[in-house]
Subunit: 251 residues, 2 copies
């Protein structure tokens, strides 16, 4: 297996032939992924259970809805979307996941994944087998607490999305998503004002409960107002305050 060429656009990817052997201790994302006061002894234990064998190509699945639940996953580079398929065959995108973020928690409840996860671009993944994680959590109270917190935050974020879908206009929804991506970029020490969207307009619309056309129109409107510069998937936030205003206050 050779190292895929042209990782230039993936700032989180560590260009090293044996990159899948990085440990949590030296991973530059650990401040996001594991902001814990763990002894290096503890980190070693964690390292031992984590598997880093899965570089995922664009549009490949990490797991599928109804698959048996075995692990949760941390994104090391790239980006993923999670989505569920309803009884009548339609899809609902439930989240986008960027480097340092963890997905798969929705599978614990019934021992089967409640959603599917698909790579939006070439992505490197850390797999964390849940049974090992449970054992380790019993021994390391910090770790147990950390995973309770991660799940709790997922709940909080879902509730924010619920509010967004329930109460906000198309403009507000798109603005909120742009701000969310901007914030998450900043957390990874990337530009908060310039980035490339890994997902399509269809995915954005699906996630926000809007049609592609509406999303497109909102982007055009924002561009006309000089809040954003939009060049296909390339986004530049020209007026952060205006964007925040558009997301929150405008009724």
């Amino acid at each position: 297996m050779s190292v895929p060429p042209g990782q230039a656009d993936s700032a989180d990817f560590i260009p090293c032939a044996h990159d899948y052997q990085v440990s949590c201790g030296n991973c530059r994302l650990n401040a996001i992924c594991l902001p814990l006061a763990l002894e290096s002894e503890d980190i070693d234990q964690l390292d031992r259970i984590i598997q880093r064998s899965k570089p995922l190509q664009k549009s490949q699945h990490l797991y599928r809805q109804a698959d048996e639940f075995e692990s949760v996953y941390a994104v090391r580079s790239g980006a993923l979307k999670a989505y569920r398929t309803t009884d009548d065959g339609r899809e609902q995108v439930t989240g986008f996941y960027f480097p340092g973020e963890i997905l798969g928690f929705d599978g614990i409840g019934n021992n089967a994944h409640a959603s599917s996860a698909k790579a939006l671009e070439t992505s490197a993944i850390c797999e964390i087998p849940f049974s090992s994680l449970q054992k380790l959590s019993s021994l390391m109270p910090n770790l147990q607490r950390h995973f309770f917190q991660l799940m709790s935050r997922e709940i909080t974020e879902d509730q924010q999305l619920i509010t967004l879908l329930s109460k906000n206009s198309a403009d507000e929804r798109v603005a909120a998503l742009m701000l969310s991506i901007s914030t998450r970029n900043a957390r990874r020490k990337l530009s908060a004002t310039q980035f490339r969207l890994p997902m399509s307009r269809v995915d954005i619309g699906n996630y926000l409960g809007l049609t592609v056309e509406t999303v497109s129109r909102v982007f055009s409107r924002m561009q006309k107002l000089s809040i954003l510069r939009v060049d296909n998937k390339e986004i530049e936030i020209l007026d952060p305050a205006g964007l925040r205003h558009m997301a929150n206050l405008s009724h």
Copy 2:
């Protein structure tokens, strides 16, 4: 403190002068709340940390958004709603909680409650201090697993609501809520076809991302189609199959 009079409409309430001293071992809801293979020894340990001191009157708060997070709570009788207040002062109902169900998980993430919880009618509550729960979880792998599962299910349910809000019509949303309440009633060995809604039309609309007027019109429509009999908060499901059809397939 005297026992409140007139609990006749609250089927889950155990009419006993010292009812706040029931233990998990003999609580008739434990199959829902704690479906665990726990030794009676373990149950005793759990009993010891749980506090049952809080009978809540209608419209009283169990906790408020931004309150310090200390406990999660199990509903013993009555019903509650959880809601968050957005920056611009509007409210979003994020869930309804019935006997046997546990709420408060959204507070773990940042050590502060991310939502408020308010009693929709007189309710009895079991308080489970989270720090004790964490310690106990480390000792009892089953218990740890159980709470991971509960949180995971909360995530799954939130995602179902996201899908509902994002993809479904007013008819479908209301139908889905009625089915959800029906199912949860059945789980508690109550009628799946006849029940009294503890929440107002405003709450329903808020939860489902609809106005009161729309909710009311949907109920009228359902009544005209002989799917439901609606008498203010009293609901009778006349045509369960029709209701299911209305919730799922109709487009």
